[in-house]
């Protein structure tokens, strides 16, 4: 018996795609679509979104940085002005008013006219200012007579004077001097050194002691 298959070739059982292949193809297509879809979501969704946020934040940061630059400039100005103001204040504080000192020293020497306690005078006065280490005053002194207690009284009065607070006074020492041209002829001559306390607290570079650095 001769059998003739009149169906078109692609519909014939022997040549049509089997269901298994179709199933695999369908599953593959689904998997590939899902994968590519996921990738698309990641790429065009999340990544672009993140990039967009990054652009926004970068913009915000640039805006902030302009303001931060302003803050930096303000801080720099503040530090600069503070330093300059401090220097001027140090300069102001570093000064001792020597006319006041001399007035007070003259009061001590004059001693309200009481010449029995001591009668002193100076041959020379040398003052050297140093704001960091403290000013020094070197006095070449003499007190009338040969009684040592007058010298001691003079030392005590110097220590008790308005400028004497905080001042270090040199120890008493003397040599006897005789001048026949004077009455009385004897006097005790001595060097008196006064060391004033520093007027500037810290020895800094830039303190107004000698040569302040650029502030």
């Amino acid at each position: 018996m001769i059998r003739i298959n009149l169906l078109p070739a692609d519909l014939r059982r022997g040549t049509r795609l089997p269901a298994k292949v179709l199933a695999v193809a369908f599953a593959s297509a689904l998997a590939v679509s899902a994968s590519i879809g996921w990738f698309g979501l990641k790429w065009f969704g999340e990544l672009k979104d993140a990039e967009q946020r990054l652009v926004v934040k970068s913009g915000e940061l640039v805006e902030r940085q302009r303001k931060v630059l302003y803050v930096d400039q303000l801080e720099a100005n503040k530090a600069d002005y503070t330093s300059r103001v401090q220097t001027i204040q140090d300069i102001g504080k570093s000064r001792l008013v020597w006319s006041k000192f001399l007035d007070e020293l003259i009061d001590v020497v004059n001693n309200e006219g009481d010449s029995d306690k001591h009668l002193a005078w100076f041959d020379s006065v040398v003052v050297k200012g140093d704001p960091v280490r403290g000013a020094t005053v070197q006095l070449k002194c003499a007190v009338q007579g040969d009684e040592q207690d007058r010298l001691a009284n003079f030392h005590d009065d110097i220590a008790a004077s308005p400028f004497g607070k905080g001042v270090t006074i040199s120890d008493p020492n003397w040599t006897l001097d005789e001048d026949e041209g004077r009455v009385p002829p004897t006097s005790l001559r001595f060097d008196l050194n006064l060391q004033f306390p520093p007027t500037v607290a810290k020895p800094q570079a830039g303190a107004p002691a000698k040569a302040p650095a650029k502030k």
Partner: protein
């Protein structure tokens, strides 16, 4: 493909799909990496933004500090001279010389040449040599130290000019040698260009005006008013009496005797005065004591006039002024109040003229306190009647006293001139203690701004015109 087996076809499709899936998976992994990276960058930028925000929040406080400091600095640096003002400083030194009477012999700039001009605070030192009496020199130093621009006397040396053949005198006082080092700082605030622009600066400054003013008080340069000689002796002179036979005048012992005799008489009269005040004395005793006091005072006044030239020993002169002359005036004042005026209760003509001359000199040289004290020491003896020829001098002395007192009160007002606006075609103005006043405006009931010039301001204070230099 038509010839492919079913299995081969399945593997091919499956394989291709797997490859595509793997590629997509790789893409997803890579994209996730990029996303994470972008997120990390976003987070990092967010952190930076937060940090920036924290700093930006400080802007108002910083602006406030900078405005206060900038305004204060502008005021502070006014105490330091710039180059132009240094030449003015030399003019001021010349003026101080004239006011104090010192004679300068050299001025040497010690440091200017070596200093870097780029420094903001450049120290400038001058060595100044001069001859002067002690009082002239202290007056000069005081004028320098009270100068509006900051000047410090960093070193000085006094060498006594007393004794020896070369001893010189000026106005009766011995001339000494002085060597001073004057130091100031030149402020170079120009050309920095780093000042930040603060928006709405003027408005903020106006809001902070009080704070600026408060902080400005932090810098106060110590000043001192020299009291003048006030009867004190020159401490650079050996006060002992000259022992040579040619030395004129009474000896020290004789002078002491005169001094103590007068002090003793003052004490006796004080005792009489105290006894008069006691309640338990009889009327007769009262009369007798008052008579005794009156006669004693008259006698003592004559005696003091006669003894005054005898007391020349410097240590005794101060005691004479304080323990005799001042005490006698005090006693006489009390007696005048109680028992009527003495025969001639007024200063003698010569002393009256001398008082006016001294007060004129004091006021012209800026010794206002001394002029005031001079007048007040003898005020009880200045109420001269109009018909007395001394009346004219008493009026002159009173006028100087009023001027000195007014000027001292004006000084005590603590007026801080912060700036001037000079308008040649209209009314000029001055910024005074934080407030603006135009010419013709009253600062207080008795203080009027009369004229504002670039370098000085004319005030009228209690009817007296006073000039305040910048």
């Amino acid at each position: 493909m038509a010839n492919w087996t079913q299995t081969k076809l399945v593997y091919t499709i499956g394989g291709a799909a797997t490859l595509l899936c793997l590629a997509a998976g790789g893409g997803i992994y890579w994209a996730q990496g990029l996303i994470d990276e972008a997120n990390a960058q976003v987070q990092a930028k967010q952190d930076l933004i937060e940090k920036a925000d924290n700093r930006i929040r400080q802007v108002p406080a910083l602006e406030r500090d900078v405005i206060i400091l900038r305004e204060n600095l502008g005021e502070y640096v006014k105490i330091l001279p710039d180059d132009k003002e240094l030449t003015d400083f030399l003019r001021m030194l010349n003026q101080f010389n004239r006011q104090s009477g010192v004679k300068s012999s050299s001025l040497v700039n010690k440091q200017r040449n070596g200093a870097k001009t780029t420094e903001r605070f450049t120290p400038i030192e001058y060595s100044y040599e001069m001859t002067a009496t002690l009082w002239q020199a202290i007056k000069f130093m005081n004028l320098v130290e009270n100068f509006e621009r900051f000047v410090s006397i960093t070193e000085f040396q006094i060498s006594s000019g007393a004794g020896g053949d070369k001893e010189q005198t000026r106005d009766g006082d011995v001339v000494h040698q002085f060597k001073l080092t004057l130091q100031t700082y030149s402020y170079n605030g120009k050309g920095d260009g780093k000042e930040v622009h603060i928006p709405d600066y003027q408005n903020l400054k106006e809001q902070l005006r009080e704070e600026i003013w408060k902080r400005m008080q932090a810098i106060r340069i110590d000043r001192y008013e020299h009291r003048g000689e006030m009867g004190r002796r020159d401490v650079m002179i050996d006060p002992r009496e000259r022992g040579d036979a040619t030395a004129p005048g009474p000896t020290q012992e004789e002078q002491r005797e005169v001094l103590e005799r007068n002090i003793g008489e003052i004490a006796r009269l004080r005792d009489v005065q105290q006894r008069i005040k006691k309640q338990d004395t009889t009327l007769f005793e009262q009369y007798s004591l008052e008579k005794n006091l009156k006669e004693g005072l008259d006698k003592l006044a004559v005696q003091v006039d006669a003894d005054a030239p005898i007391v020349t020993y410097p240590p005794f002169r101060l005691r004479w002024a304080r323990e005799v002359v001042a005490q006698l005036e005090d006693l006489r004042g009390a007696t005048v109040t109680k028992g009527g005026p003495p025969k001639d209760p007024y200063l003698p003509d010569a002393e009256m003229r001398q008082l006016v001359a001294d007060m004129t000199a004091d006021c012209n040289s800026g010794q206002l306190e001394q002029a005031k004290t001079r007048y007040e020491l003898v005020i009880a003896r200045l109420a001269v009647p109009a018909e007395d020829p001394r009346h004219e001098f008493a009026i002159q002395a009173k006028a100087w006293h009023v001027k000195a007192t007014t000027a001292l009160d004006f000084k005590a007002l603590d007026l801080k001139v912060q700036g001037v606006v000079v308008n040649p075609e209209g009314r000029s103005g001055v910024l005074l203690n934080g407030e603006t006043f135009e010419e013709g405006e009253y600062v207080s009931d008795d203080l009027l701004v009369k004229l504002v010039e670039e370098e000085q301001i004319w005030f009228v204070f209690r009817g007296l015109t006073l000039v305040r230099t910048m």
